[in-house]
Protein backbone atom coordinates (compact mmCIF):
# COMPACT_ATOMS: atom_id res chain seq x y z
CA UNK A 1 0.00 0.00 0.00
CA UNK A 2 1.79 3.10 -1.18
CA UNK A 3 -0.95 5.46 -0.13
CA UNK A 4 0.22 7.96 2.46
CA UNK A 5 -0.91 7.27 6.00
CA UNK A 6 -4.00 9.07 7.22
CA UNK A 7 -2.36 9.68 10.57
CA UNK A 8 1.31 9.86 11.37
CA UNK A 9 3.19 10.53 14.58
CA UNK A 10 6.68 11.89 14.08
CA UNK A 11 8.90 11.92 17.12
CA UNK A 12 6.08 13.04 19.35
CA UNK A 13 7.21 14.19 22.78
CA UNK A 14 5.34 15.58 25.77
CA UNK A 15 6.68 16.71 29.13
CA UNK A 16 5.05 18.32 32.10
CA UNK A 17 7.68 20.35 33.86
CA UNK A 18 10.43 17.90 34.54
CA UNK A 19 8.48 14.72 34.03
CA UNK A 20 8.59 13.33 30.54
CA UNK A 21 5.44 11.45 29.64
CA UNK A 22 5.94 10.79 25.95
CA UNK A 23 9.39 10.36 24.46
CA UNK A 24 9.75 10.10 20.72
CA UNK A 25 6.59 8.27 19.71
CA UNK A 26 6.67 7.22 16.06
CA UNK A 27 4.05 5.32 14.12
CA UNK A 28 1.60 5.61 11.27
CA UNK A 29 -2.01 4.61 10.72
CA UNK A 30 -3.37 3.88 7.26
CA UNK A 31 -6.89 4.40 6.00
CA UNK A 32 -9.20 1.62 7.04
CA UNK A 33 -6.94 0.20 9.71
CA UNK A 34 -7.94 -0.66 13.23
CA UNK A 35 -4.98 0.14 15.45
CA UNK A 36 -4.92 -0.53 19.18
CA UNK A 37 -2.51 1.20 21.50
CA UNK A 38 -1.70 -0.65 24.72
CA UNK A 39 0.69 0.01 27.52
CA UNK A 40 1.10 -0.18 31.28
CA UNK A 41 -1.13 2.09 33.34
CA UNK A 42 0.08 5.62 33.57
CA UNK A 43 2.17 5.16 30.42
CA UNK A 44 0.71 8.21 28.82
CA UNK A 45 -1.77 6.56 26.49
CA UNK A 46 -4.40 9.18 27.16
CA UNK A 47 -1.83 11.95 26.76
CA UNK A 48 -0.89 10.49 23.41
CA UNK A 49 -4.48 10.42 22.30
CA UNK A 50 -5.05 13.99 23.38
CA UNK A 51 -2.01 15.14 21.42
CA UNK A 52 -3.37 13.44 18.33
CA UNK A 53 -6.80 14.94 18.96
CA UNK A 54 -5.33 18.41 19.20
CA UNK A 55 -6.44 18.87 22.81
CA UNK A 56 -2.88 19.10 24.07
CA UNK A 57 0.11 20.74 22.41
CA UNK A 58 3.11 18.38 22.18
CA UNK A 59 6.43 19.50 23.62
CA UNK A 60 8.27 18.21 20.57
CA UNK A 61 7.70 16.34 17.34
CA UNK A 62 4.29 16.39 15.73
CA UNK A 63 1.12 14.58 14.82
CA UNK A 64 0.20 14.77 11.17
CA UNK A 65 -3.42 14.15 10.23
CA UNK A 66 -4.37 13.91 6.57
CA UNK A 67 -1.17 15.68 5.65
CA UNK A 68 -1.54 18.57 8.04
CA UNK A 69 0.14 19.11 11.37
CA UNK A 70 -2.31 18.93 14.25
CA UNK A 71 -2.42 22.18 16.22
CA UNK A 72 -6.09 22.22 17.19
CA UNK A 73 -8.84 19.59 17.07
CA UNK A 74 -9.07 18.52 13.41
CA UNK A 75 -12.47 18.64 11.78
CA UNK A 76 -12.45 15.13 10.43
CA UNK A 77 -11.55 13.43 13.67
CA UNK A 78 -13.92 12.37 16.46
CA UNK A 79 -13.00 11.31 19.98
CA UNK A 80 -14.90 8.89 22.19
CA UNK A 81 -13.98 9.47 25.80
CA UNK A 82 -13.88 6.95 28.58
CA UNK A 83 -16.26 8.58 31.02
CA UNK A 84 -19.55 8.73 29.12
CA UNK A 85 -21.38 10.23 32.08
CA UNK A 86 -19.19 13.29 31.82
CA UNK A 87 -18.95 13.53 28.08
CA UNK A 88 -22.65 13.33 27.25
CA UNK A 89 -24.40 16.53 28.30
CA UNK A 90 -27.05 15.71 30.93
CA UNK A 91 -29.34 18.59 30.09
CA UNK A 92 -29.82 17.40 26.53
CA UNK A 93 -31.61 14.35 25.24
CA UNK A 94 -29.55 11.82 23.32
CA UNK A 95 -30.86 13.27 20.07
CA UNK A 96 -29.89 16.78 21.04
CA UNK A 97 -26.50 15.55 22.18
CA UNK A 98 -25.92 14.09 18.76
CA UNK A 99 -27.23 17.23 17.10
CA UNK A 100 -24.94 19.66 18.89
CA UNK A 101 -21.71 18.96 16.97
CA UNK A 102 -23.69 18.95 13.74
CA UNK A 103 -24.81 22.55 14.00
CA UNK A 104 -22.24 23.70 11.53
CA UNK A 105 -22.26 24.76 7.91
CA UNK A 106 -20.54 21.50 7.08
CA UNK A 107 -23.78 19.70 7.92
CA UNK A 108 -26.75 21.18 6.09
CA UNK A 109 -29.94 21.20 8.15
CA UNK A 110 -31.78 18.77 5.96
CA UNK A 111 -29.25 16.01 6.47
CA UNK A 112 -28.84 16.39 10.23
CA UNK A 113 -31.90 14.41 11.22
CA UNK A 114 -31.00 11.63 8.86
CA UNK A 115 -27.43 11.43 10.18
CA UNK A 116 -28.68 11.21 13.73
CA UNK A 117 -31.18 8.53 12.91
CA UNK A 118 -28.62 6.46 11.02
CA UNK A 119 -26.04 6.76 13.74
CA UNK A 120 -28.48 5.68 16.42
CA UNK A 121 -29.41 2.73 14.27
CA UNK A 122 -25.79 1.80 13.77
CA UNK A 123 -25.23 1.54 17.49
CA UNK A 124 -28.52 -0.17 18.22
CA UNK A 125 -30.24 2.76 19.89
CA UNK A 126 -33.02 3.34 17.38
CA UNK A 127 -35.97 5.11 18.92
CA UNK A 128 -34.11 5.99 22.10
CA UNK A 129 -33.21 9.48 20.97
CA UNK A 130 -35.72 11.21 23.21
CA UNK A 131 -34.24 9.80 26.40
CA UNK A 132 -31.82 11.67 28.60
CA UNK A 133 -28.39 10.05 29.02
CA UNK A 134 -28.92 9.42 32.72
CA UNK A 135 -32.11 7.56 31.97
CA UNK A 136 -30.05 4.85 30.25
CA UNK A 137 -27.60 2.19 31.36
CA UNK A 138 -23.85 2.70 31.14
CA UNK A 139 -23.54 0.57 28.02
CA UNK A 140 -26.29 2.48 26.28
CA UNK A 141 -24.70 5.79 27.23
CA UNK A 142 -21.42 4.76 25.69
CA UNK A 143 -23.26 3.68 22.56
CA UNK A 144 -24.81 7.12 22.45
CA UNK A 145 -21.37 8.69 22.75
CA UNK A 146 -20.19 6.48 19.87
CA UNK A 147 -23.25 7.43 17.84
CA UNK A 148 -22.38 11.06 18.40
CA UNK A 149 -18.91 10.42 17.06
CA UNK A 150 -20.33 8.59 14.04
CA UNK A 151 -22.86 11.27 13.19
CA UNK A 152 -19.96 13.68 13.01
CA UNK A 153 -18.78 11.76 9.96
CA UNK A 154 -15.12 11.65 10.89
CA UNK A 155 -12.40 10.02 8.84
CA UNK A 156 -10.78 8.65 11.95
CA UNK A 157 -12.35 7.63 15.24
CA UNK A 158 -10.18 7.96 18.35
CA UNK A 159 -11.35 5.92 21.30
CA UNK A 160 -9.84 6.44 24.75
CA UNK A 161 -10.40 3.29 26.81
CA UNK A 162 -14.09 3.57 26.00
CA UNK A 163 -15.11 0.30 27.60
CA UNK A 164 -13.10 0.57 30.79
CA UNK A 165 -16.08 1.86 32.75
CA UNK A 166 -18.65 -0.74 31.73
CA UNK A 167 -19.22 -4.25 33.03
CA UNK A 168 -17.69 -7.28 31.31
CA UNK A 169 -20.87 -8.42 29.58
CA UNK A 170 -21.54 -5.00 28.14
CA UNK A 171 -17.93 -4.70 27.09
CA UNK A 172 -18.21 -7.80 24.92
CA UNK A 173 -21.30 -6.41 23.20
CA UNK A 174 -19.67 -3.05 22.63
CA UNK A 175 -16.48 -4.57 21.24
CA UNK A 176 -18.44 -6.47 18.65
CA UNK A 177 -20.54 -3.40 17.94
CA UNK A 178 -17.46 -1.36 17.12
CA UNK A 179 -16.03 -4.07 14.92
CA UNK A 180 -19.33 -4.39 13.05
CA UNK A 181 -19.61 -0.64 12.69
CA UNK A 182 -16.09 -0.37 11.41
CA UNK A 183 -16.70 -3.08 8.86
CA UNK A 184 -19.93 -1.57 7.64
CA UNK A 185 -18.74 2.00 7.48
CA UNK A 186 -15.12 1.19 6.58
CA UNK A 187 -13.82 3.33 9.42
CA UNK A 188 -10.30 4.00 10.53
CA UNK A 189 -10.02 3.54 14.28
CA UNK A 190 -7.30 4.30 16.80
CA UNK A 191 -8.25 2.52 19.98
CA UNK A 192 -6.46 3.04 23.28
CA UNK A 193 -6.89 0.37 25.93
CA UNK A 194 -5.16 -1.26 28.86
CA UNK A 195 -6.95 -4.53 28.20
CA UNK A 196 -4.63 -6.84 26.28
CA UNK A 197 -7.34 -9.33 25.35
CA UNK A 198 -9.43 -6.54 23.91
CA UNK A 199 -6.52 -5.06 21.98
CA UNK A 200 -5.52 -8.29 20.24
CA UNK A 201 -9.14 -9.25 19.61
CA UNK A 202 -10.09 -6.05 17.89
CA UNK A 203 -6.98 -4.81 16.11
CA UNK A 204 -5.26 -5.12 12.77
CA UNK A 205 -2.17 -3.80 14.48
CA UNK A 206 -1.24 -3.51 18.12
CA UNK A 207 1.17 -0.81 19.16
CA UNK A 208 2.73 -1.51 22.52
CA UNK A 209 4.03 1.44 24.45
CA UNK A 210 6.82 1.22 26.96
CA UNK A 211 6.42 2.70 30.40
CA UNK A 212 6.96 6.37 31.06
CA UNK A 213 8.56 8.05 29.23
CA UNK A 214 6.55 6.25 26.57
CA UNK A 215 7.92 5.11 23.26
CA UNK A 216 6.76 2.51 20.80
CA UNK A 217 8.12 -0.73 22.19
CA UNK A 218 6.77 -2.80 19.32
CA UNK A 219 4.39 -2.52 16.40
CA UNK A 220 2.73 -5.92 16.00
CA UNK A 221 0.71 -6.98 12.97
CA UNK A 222 -2.26 -9.05 14.10
CA UNK A 223 -2.50 -11.82 11.55
CA UNK A 224 -5.78 -13.27 12.75
CA UNK A 225 -8.66 -13.85 10.33
CA UNK A 226 -10.54 -10.63 9.61
CA UNK A 227 -13.80 -12.12 10.86
CA UNK A 228 -13.52 -11.86 14.64
CA UNK A 229 -15.65 -13.92 16.97
CA UNK A 230 -15.54 -13.81 20.74
CA UNK A 231 -15.32 -17.58 21.08
CA UNK A 232 -13.63 -18.86 17.95
CA UNK A 233 -11.00 -16.17 17.59
CA UNK A 234 -10.04 -16.33 21.21
CA UNK A 235 -9.62 -20.08 20.92
CA UNK A 236 -7.07 -19.84 18.12
CA UNK A 237 -3.49 -20.67 19.01
CA UNK A 238 -2.29 -17.59 17.23
CA UNK A 239 -4.47 -15.44 19.47
CA UNK A 240 -2.77 -16.89 22.53
CA UNK A 241 0.67 -16.30 21.02
CA UNK A 242 -0.02 -12.69 20.15
CA UNK A 243 -1.56 -12.10 23.52
CA UNK A 244 1.46 -13.59 25.25
CA UNK A 245 3.80 -11.47 23.19
CA UNK A 246 1.99 -8.28 24.14
CA UNK A 247 1.73 -9.38 27.74
CA UNK A 248 5.48 -9.98 28.02
CA UNK A 249 6.27 -6.66 26.44
CA UNK A 250 4.08 -4.87 28.92
CA UNK A 251 5.54 -6.75 31.85
CA UNK A 252 9.01 -5.83 30.64
CA UNK A 253 7.91 -2.23 30.25
CA UNK A 254 6.57 -2.18 33.79
CA UNK A 255 9.81 -3.56 35.09
CA UNK A 256 11.86 -1.11 33.10
CA UNK A 257 9.83 1.69 34.54
CA UNK A 258 10.75 0.41 37.96
CA UNK A 259 14.43 0.00 37.21
CA UNK A 260 14.86 2.77 34.69
CA UNK A 261 15.88 0.64 31.70
CA UNK A 262 14.12 0.65 28.37
CA UNK A 263 13.50 -2.76 26.72
CA UNK A 264 14.94 -3.34 23.26
CA UNK A 265 12.35 -3.18 20.44
Amino acid sequence: MSESPILELQGLRKSYGRSEVLADVDFAVHRGEFVCVVGPSGAGKTTLLKCIAGLIRPSGGRAVFEGEEVSEPPARLAVIFQDYSRSLLPWLTVEKNLLLPLKKPKFPRATRARLIEESLENVGLSGKGRLYPWEMSGGMQQRAAIARGLAYQPDVLLMDEPFAAVDAQTRIDLEDLVLEMRRRLDMTVLFVTHDIDEAVYMADRVIVLSGAPARVARDIRVDLPAERDQVRTKNLARYGELRAEVFELIQAAKQAANTGRIPAP
Binding site: A53, G54, P73, L77, A78, V79, L89, W91, Y152
Partner: protein, 262 residues
Protein backbone atom coordinates in the same frame (compact mmCIF):
# COMPACT_ATOMS: atom_id res chain seq x y z
CA UNK B 1 -58.43 7.99 44.27
CA UNK B 2 -55.92 7.17 46.94
CA UNK B 3 -53.49 9.80 45.67
CA UNK B 4 -56.23 12.41 45.62
CA UNK B 5 -57.27 11.55 49.15
CA UNK B 6 -53.71 11.82 50.33
CA UNK B 7 -53.22 15.21 48.71
CA UNK B 8 -56.44 16.42 50.30
CA UNK B 9 -55.33 15.21 53.68
CA UNK B 10 -52.00 16.99 53.27
CA UNK B 11 -53.78 20.17 52.26
CA UNK B 12 -55.97 20.12 55.37
CA UNK B 13 -53.00 19.34 57.59
CA UNK B 14 -51.08 22.24 56.21
CA UNK B 15 -53.94 24.70 56.07
CA UNK B 16 -55.64 24.37 59.44
CA UNK B 17 -53.02 26.18 61.50
CA UNK B 18 -52.49 29.24 59.28
CA UNK B 19 -56.24 29.64 58.79
CA UNK B 20 -56.77 29.07 62.49
CA UNK B 21 -54.26 31.77 63.36
CA UNK B 22 -55.93 34.30 61.07
CA UNK B 23 -59.37 33.47 62.39
CA UNK B 24 -58.19 33.65 66.01
CA UNK B 25 -56.49 36.95 65.35
CA UNK B 26 -59.64 38.26 63.72
CA UNK B 27 -61.88 37.25 66.58
CA UNK B 28 -59.58 38.34 69.39
CA UNK B 29 -58.81 41.71 67.86
CA UNK B 30 -62.42 42.43 66.90
CA UNK B 31 -63.25 43.44 70.43
CA UNK B 32 -59.87 45.05 71.02
CA UNK B 33 -59.69 48.59 72.25
CA UNK B 34 -55.92 48.71 72.22
CA UNK B 35 -54.54 51.49 70.07
CA UNK B 36 -51.69 49.38 68.83
CA UNK B 37 -53.65 46.25 67.93
CA UNK B 38 -56.61 47.29 65.84
CA UNK B 39 -59.17 44.76 64.64
CA UNK B 40 -57.87 42.59 61.85
CA UNK B 41 -61.00 43.43 59.93
CA UNK B 42 -59.99 47.08 59.79
CA UNK B 43 -56.53 46.15 58.61
CA UNK B 44 -57.93 44.01 55.82
CA UNK B 45 -60.31 46.79 54.86
CA UNK B 46 -57.41 49.22 54.73
CA UNK B 47 -55.50 46.84 52.46
CA UNK B 48 -58.49 46.26 50.25
CA UNK B 49 -59.64 49.83 49.92
CA UNK B 50 -56.31 51.56 49.69
CA UNK B 51 -53.93 49.11 48.15
CA UNK B 52 -55.89 46.68 46.05
CA UNK B 53 -58.84 48.64 44.81
CA UNK B 54 -57.60 52.02 45.87
CA UNK B 55 -55.25 54.78 44.84
CA UNK B 56 -52.16 53.31 46.44
CA UNK B 57 -52.09 50.53 43.89
CA UNK B 58 -51.02 52.92 41.17
CA UNK B 59 -49.30 55.55 43.22
CA UNK B 60 -47.17 53.30 45.41
CA UNK B 61 -47.48 49.56 44.93
CA UNK B 62 -46.92 49.28 41.20
CA UNK B 63 -44.05 51.79 41.10
CA UNK B 64 -42.31 49.89 43.90
CA UNK B 65 -42.75 46.62 42.06
CA UNK B 66 -41.53 48.20 38.85
CA UNK B 67 -38.41 49.64 40.49
CA UNK B 68 -37.77 46.31 42.14
CA UNK B 69 -38.15 44.42 38.89
CA UNK B 70 -35.89 46.76 36.95
CA UNK B 71 -33.25 46.64 39.65
CA UNK B 72 -33.40 42.89 40.16
CA UNK B 73 -33.37 41.83 36.54
CA UNK B 74 -30.62 44.29 35.69
CA UNK B 75 -28.59 42.94 38.59
CA UNK B 76 -28.91 39.30 37.59
CA UNK B 77 -28.44 39.97 33.90
CA UNK B 78 -25.28 41.98 34.47
CA UNK B 79 -24.12 39.49 37.06
CA UNK B 80 -24.55 36.55 34.71
CA UNK B 81 -22.94 38.18 31.69
CA UNK B 82 -19.99 39.59 33.59
CA UNK B 83 -19.73 36.37 35.56
CA UNK B 84 -19.42 34.31 32.39
CA UNK B 85 -16.77 36.66 30.98
CA UNK B 86 -14.75 36.60 34.18
CA UNK B 87 -15.28 32.90 34.74
CA UNK B 88 -13.84 31.96 31.37
CA UNK B 89 -10.59 33.69 32.25
CA UNK B 90 -8.44 32.45 35.11
CA UNK B 91 -6.60 35.74 35.19
CA UNK B 92 -9.81 37.75 35.26
CA UNK B 93 -11.12 35.70 38.12
CA UNK B 94 -8.01 36.14 40.26
CA UNK B 95 -7.96 39.87 39.60
CA UNK B 96 -11.50 40.63 40.68
CA UNK B 97 -11.72 38.03 43.44
CA UNK B 98 -10.94 40.32 46.40
CA UNK B 99 -13.34 42.99 45.17
CA UNK B 100 -16.19 40.58 44.64
CA UNK B 101 -15.57 38.88 47.96
CA UNK B 102 -15.58 42.18 49.80
CA UNK B 103 -18.81 43.40 48.28
CA UNK B 104 -20.42 40.01 48.70
CA UNK B 105 -19.71 40.13 52.44
CA UNK B 106 -20.72 43.77 52.80
CA UNK B 107 -24.16 44.13 54.39
CA UNK B 108 -25.97 45.54 51.38
CA UNK B 109 -28.03 48.23 53.17
CA UNK B 110 -24.73 49.94 54.02
CA UNK B 111 -24.71 50.99 50.39
CA UNK B 112 -27.88 53.05 50.77
CA UNK B 113 -26.28 56.22 52.20
CA UNK B 114 -23.64 56.05 49.48
CA UNK B 115 -26.25 55.76 46.78
CA UNK B 116 -28.28 58.53 48.36
CA UNK B 117 -25.28 60.82 48.11
CA UNK B 118 -24.78 59.88 44.48
CA UNK B 119 -28.35 59.81 43.22
CA UNK B 120 -30.43 61.75 45.69
CA UNK B 121 -33.90 60.71 46.66
CA UNK B 122 -36.01 58.92 44.09
CA UNK B 123 -36.50 55.78 42.02
CA UNK B 124 -33.10 56.09 40.35
CA UNK B 125 -31.45 55.65 43.70
CA UNK B 126 -33.72 52.74 44.58
CA UNK B 127 -32.90 50.95 41.36
CA UNK B 128 -29.20 51.78 41.55
CA UNK B 129 -28.82 50.46 45.06
CA UNK B 130 -30.52 47.19 44.09
CA UNK B 131 -28.22 46.75 41.11
CA UNK B 132 -25.09 47.54 43.08
CA UNK B 133 -26.17 45.50 46.08
CA UNK B 134 -27.77 42.43 44.52
CA UNK B 135 -25.32 41.73 41.72
CA UNK B 136 -22.65 40.08 43.87
CA UNK B 137 -24.17 36.70 44.74
CA UNK B 138 -25.09 36.18 41.09
CA UNK B 139 -21.65 37.29 39.97
CA UNK B 140 -19.86 35.09 42.42
CA UNK B 141 -21.95 32.01 41.77
CA UNK B 142 -21.76 32.46 38.02
CA UNK B 143 -17.99 32.69 38.13
CA UNK B 144 -17.80 29.61 40.33
CA UNK B 145 -20.24 27.70 38.19
CA UNK B 146 -18.42 28.56 34.98
CA UNK B 147 -15.01 27.71 36.37
CA UNK B 148 -16.26 24.42 37.69
CA UNK B 149 -16.95 23.22 34.19
CA UNK B 150 -15.96 19.58 34.01
CA UNK B 151 -12.64 19.20 32.19
CA UNK B 152 -13.97 16.30 30.22
CA UNK B 153 -16.99 18.31 29.07
CA UNK B 154 -14.61 21.04 28.02
CA UNK B 155 -12.56 18.53 26.06
CA UNK B 156 -15.66 17.23 24.35
CA UNK B 157 -16.66 20.72 23.22
CA UNK B 158 -13.18 21.39 21.93
CA UNK B 159 -12.82 18.08 20.14
CA UNK B 160 -16.11 18.64 18.34
CA UNK B 161 -14.98 22.16 17.48
CA UNK B 162 -18.00 23.96 18.91
CA UNK B 163 -17.97 27.71 18.36
CA UNK B 164 -17.43 30.00 21.31
CA UNK B 165 -21.07 31.03 21.31
CA UNK B 166 -22.23 27.41 21.18
CA UNK B 167 -19.91 26.49 24.01
CA UNK B 168 -21.15 29.26 26.27
CA UNK B 169 -24.85 29.05 25.53
CA UNK B 170 -25.25 25.28 25.09
CA UNK B 171 -22.65 23.90 27.44
CA UNK B 172 -21.23 26.34 29.97
CA UNK B 173 -24.46 28.03 31.01
CA UNK B 174 -26.59 24.88 31.34
CA UNK B 175 -23.79 23.19 33.23
CA UNK B 176 -23.49 26.11 35.62
CA UNK B 177 -27.24 26.74 35.79
CA UNK B 178 -27.89 25.10 39.17
CA UNK B 179 -25.20 27.20 40.77
CA UNK B 180 -26.22 30.35 38.92
CA UNK B 181 -29.80 29.95 40.07
CA UNK B 182 -28.63 29.54 43.63
CA UNK B 183 -26.98 32.91 43.16
CA UNK B 184 -30.20 34.36 41.74
CA UNK B 185 -32.06 33.19 44.82
CA UNK B 186 -29.77 35.12 47.14
CA UNK B 187 -29.78 38.13 44.83
CA UNK B 188 -33.57 38.08 45.04
CA UNK B 189 -33.46 38.11 48.80
CA UNK B 190 -31.05 41.04 48.79
CA UNK B 191 -33.09 42.93 46.20
CA UNK B 192 -36.21 42.60 48.33
CA UNK B 193 -34.39 43.86 51.41
CA UNK B 194 -32.92 46.74 49.44
CA UNK B 195 -36.15 47.94 47.83
CA UNK B 196 -37.74 48.01 51.27
CA UNK B 197 -34.86 49.80 52.98
CA UNK B 198 -34.13 52.25 50.20
CA UNK B 199 -37.76 53.25 49.97
CA UNK B 200 -38.03 53.69 53.70
CA UNK B 201 -35.05 55.97 53.66
CA UNK B 202 -34.83 57.63 50.30
CA UNK B 203 -38.12 57.88 48.44
CA UNK B 204 -41.14 60.08 48.08
CA UNK B 205 -43.57 57.32 47.30
CA UNK B 206 -43.70 53.57 47.22
CA UNK B 207 -44.53 50.71 49.53
CA UNK B 208 -41.57 51.12 51.87
CA UNK B 209 -42.10 54.86 52.03
CA UNK B 210 -45.78 54.48 52.94
CA UNK B 211 -45.02 52.03 55.72
CA UNK B 212 -42.41 54.18 57.41
CA UNK B 213 -44.52 57.28 56.97
CA UNK B 214 -47.50 55.57 58.55
CA UNK B 215 -45.31 54.70 61.48
CA UNK B 216 -44.02 58.25 61.84
CA UNK B 217 -47.54 59.63 61.73
CA UNK B 218 -48.74 57.01 64.22
CA UNK B 219 -51.30 55.65 61.77
CA UNK B 220 -51.44 52.21 63.33
CA UNK B 221 -53.84 50.45 61.00
CA UNK B 222 -51.97 51.70 57.99
CA UNK B 223 -48.65 50.54 59.38
CA UNK B 224 -50.07 47.08 59.99
CA UNK B 225 -51.54 47.04 56.52
CA UNK B 226 -48.33 48.08 54.82
CA UNK B 227 -46.26 45.59 56.79
CA UNK B 228 -48.57 42.72 55.93
CA UNK B 229 -48.45 43.66 52.25
CA UNK B 230 -44.66 43.70 52.40
CA UNK B 231 -44.66 40.26 53.96
CA UNK B 232 -47.08 38.82 51.46
CA UNK B 233 -45.18 40.32 48.54
CA UNK B 234 -41.93 38.88 49.84
CA UNK B 235 -43.56 35.47 49.99
CA UNK B 236 -45.16 35.74 46.55
CA UNK B 237 -42.03 36.94 44.80
CA UNK B 238 -39.93 34.19 46.34
CA UNK B 239 -42.51 31.54 45.47
CA UNK B 240 -42.70 32.77 41.91
CA UNK B 241 -38.94 32.55 41.64
CA UNK B 242 -38.84 29.01 43.01
CA UNK B 243 -41.43 27.94 40.48
CA UNK B 244 -39.36 29.34 37.64
CA UNK B 245 -36.23 27.74 39.03
CA UNK B 246 -37.87 24.37 39.21
CA UNK B 247 -38.97 24.64 35.60
CA UNK B 248 -35.60 25.70 34.27
CA UNK B 249 -33.68 23.14 36.28
CA UNK B 250 -36.15 20.31 35.72
CA UNK B 251 -33.50 18.19 34.03
CA UNK B 252 -31.18 18.63 36.99
CA UNK B 253 -33.77 17.66 39.57
CA UNK B 254 -34.80 14.57 37.63
CA UNK B 255 -31.21 13.59 37.00
CA UNK B 256 -30.33 13.70 40.68
CA UNK B 257 -33.33 11.59 41.52
CA UNK B 258 -32.47 9.12 38.77
CA UNK B 259 -28.83 8.80 39.70
CA UNK B 260 -29.47 8.93 43.43
CA UNK B 261 -26.97 11.73 43.89
CA UNK B 262 -27.12 13.52 47.23
Amino acid sequence: MNGLLRSLRLLVLRAWLPIGIVVAWWLVSATSTSFYFPPLQEIFLEIWNQWILGPRLVSDLLPSLADFAIGFFTAILLGTVIGVLIGRSAIGQATVAPIINFFRALPSPALVPIMLALFGIGPNMNIAVIVVGAIWPTLLNTVDGVRALDTQVREVTRSYRLTRWQTVSQVVLPSAAPQIFAGYRISLQIAIILIVVSEMVGATHGLGYQVIESQQLFRVTQTWAGTIILGVLGYLLTSAFLLVERRVLAWHVRMRIATGAG
